[in-house]
Amino acid sequence: MSLRDPTLRPSRGGRLPSIRDVLSRVHFRVTLAAVMMAGITVLLAGLIVMRAYAYHNLSLVAQSASFTVEAALVFDDPVAAQEGVAPLTETEGLASLTVLRADGRPLAAWQRSGGGFSYRLEQAVGRWAFAAPVRAPIRHEGQLLGEVVVHGDAGGLERFVVAGLLGMLACLIVTAVAAILLARRLHESIAGPLQTIASVAHAVRAERALDRRAPPAGIAEIDELGRDFNALLAELEGWQASLRDENAALAHKARHDPLTGLCNRGSFEALLDEALGQAASLGRPAALLYLDSNGFKETNDRFGHAAGDAVLVEVARRITSLLGPRDLAARMGGDEFVMLLAAPADRAHALAIADRLRAAMADPIALPDGTPILSSLSIGIALYPDDAEDAHGLVRAADAAMYADKERHRQSP
């Protein structure tokens, strides 16, 4: 039998037996023991009974001979005695028959003649089985005239033993086949579900397929094992999901500004590179707006950091409300923000957005204590690829434009 199951791979240099091997071996041993015990018991009992019958038969032959040769012995006629016992000598299991006179001289004698292994075996077994001959006295008118001495051989016994052994052999073959078939069935019901669980385990390990589950099995222990295994997989899956969520949260935290929820400078620079690459491949312009809150420092000094934070959150909200689906906003630090208008975004679109932003900032911002405050933004616009060929240049250009705008604010507040 070959090892088809990869989980039962050879180890430590020796081949591990499969379940089927073990089952087959156990079944064969059990049936072998059963057949041997039953067979030997029946054979022995049969031998004992047959030996008793054979003895009985010999004694009947001896008594028949005694009756038959009585007259021949009375008249001391060996020929008649020989003729009288002749029909009896055809009895099976008879090795020799002797009619003895009272003084021990034989009146008639017969011995089975034969040759070959079978004959010698029968004689040998007969000597063993019928160690003592059967004797029958011959009496006439109350006087002992002589006796008949009969030896048996193992003609019938031998055939019985041979037939019994052949029967046992046939039973053994039948039971061996039955054991193999039974082992195959058991193998299907035990090893099948185990192999399914093993293949699920293998898939989980190799493909991280934590959503795989072992199907229910028809055997209680294996079913329980499968259910425990499934529960373990479910726990693993839960752990994996929570890890994924935590990782995502951490990644979000690393990329975003905790106060406003906008991208931070680091993540914005990476995204800006990506967006500019996209614009270059489209061959369309993209625009960057650099925003800075005017008078934020004064608000901070005057109303406190909580007020400053509230202003920043509100500014971020208003910036976000103007973003298109592919546009991006980020807090660059302090009171500086940027808006990236994804391609295609020309200067007119950027100016329109800037106007809308200024209009949005015209509404006063309510501080936590309820005080309304007006906050304006200085806005610098730079266009890719007109104003700069790369991200760094674009940010610098937009920053410069913003400072120019701030100067204008300062000169004409």
């Binding site: 009585e70 006629d77 006439h140």
Partner: protein, 183 residues
């Protein structure tokens, strides 16, 4: 007489095999021959009597000897088997076996008419008849001894046995053999 011959059984006794008398005979001078035969005949007669059943129970068997027996010398020494003693008695000329109280009748040499008379009279009674001098067994006796140079045998006349008032044990029939010269 074909019927009688056909229903006649015979029994042979080889002198040289078996009995001690026979062995003695083989090594003995001529006068001992007759003695050996007489012993063999006596044993055979004893055997025949032991297989004969009379209607009533008897303590002893009275064997009557008629005529001049050739081999009757040892009949007197015959010991009865099974506790029944054998009493030997010579039948006087003209004496009937029934009147003499015979249980068995041993027929020696005598005239054919007298033999027929005795046999006919015996078979009316419970008497077993043994004829010493009728090898072909045609005179009507139940048992006919056939004394040959090397062996002694007897024939059984089944007709006579079946008509007789005594019963012969069937075991004797097991010894049945065709008479000399017959298949």
């Amino acid at each position: 007489m074909f019927v009688i011959a056909a229903s006649t059984l015979s029994f042979a006794w080889p002198f040289l095999a078996g009995a001690s008398a026979g062995l003695t005979l083989a090594r003995s001078p001529v006068p001992r021959v007759a003695e050996g035969r007489s012993i063999a005949v006596a044993q055979m007669v004893r055997g025949i009597l032991s297989y004969t059943r009379w209607p009533g129970a008897m303590a002893s068997i009275r064997l009557c000897v008629a005529g001049a027996p050739l081999y009757g010398a040892k009949l007197a020494e015959t010991e009865g088997a099974g506790g029944r003693a054998i009493q030997l008695r010579s039948l006087l000329p003209g004496e009937g076996p029934g009147a003499a109280g015979c249980d068995g009748l041993y027929l020696g040499r005598m005239a054919a008419a007298e033999r027929s008379q005795l046999i006919a009279e015996a078979h009316g009674q419970a008497i077993v008849t043994i004829d010493e001098n009728d090898p072909a067994c045609r005179a009507g006796a139940m048992f006919c001894l056939a004394v040959e140079p090397t062996r002694l045998s007897f024939q059984l006349n089944l007709d006579a046995v079946s008509r007789g008032a005594v019963r012969i044990d069937p075991k004797v029939l097991l010894l049945a053999r065709a008479p000399e010269g017959q298949p």
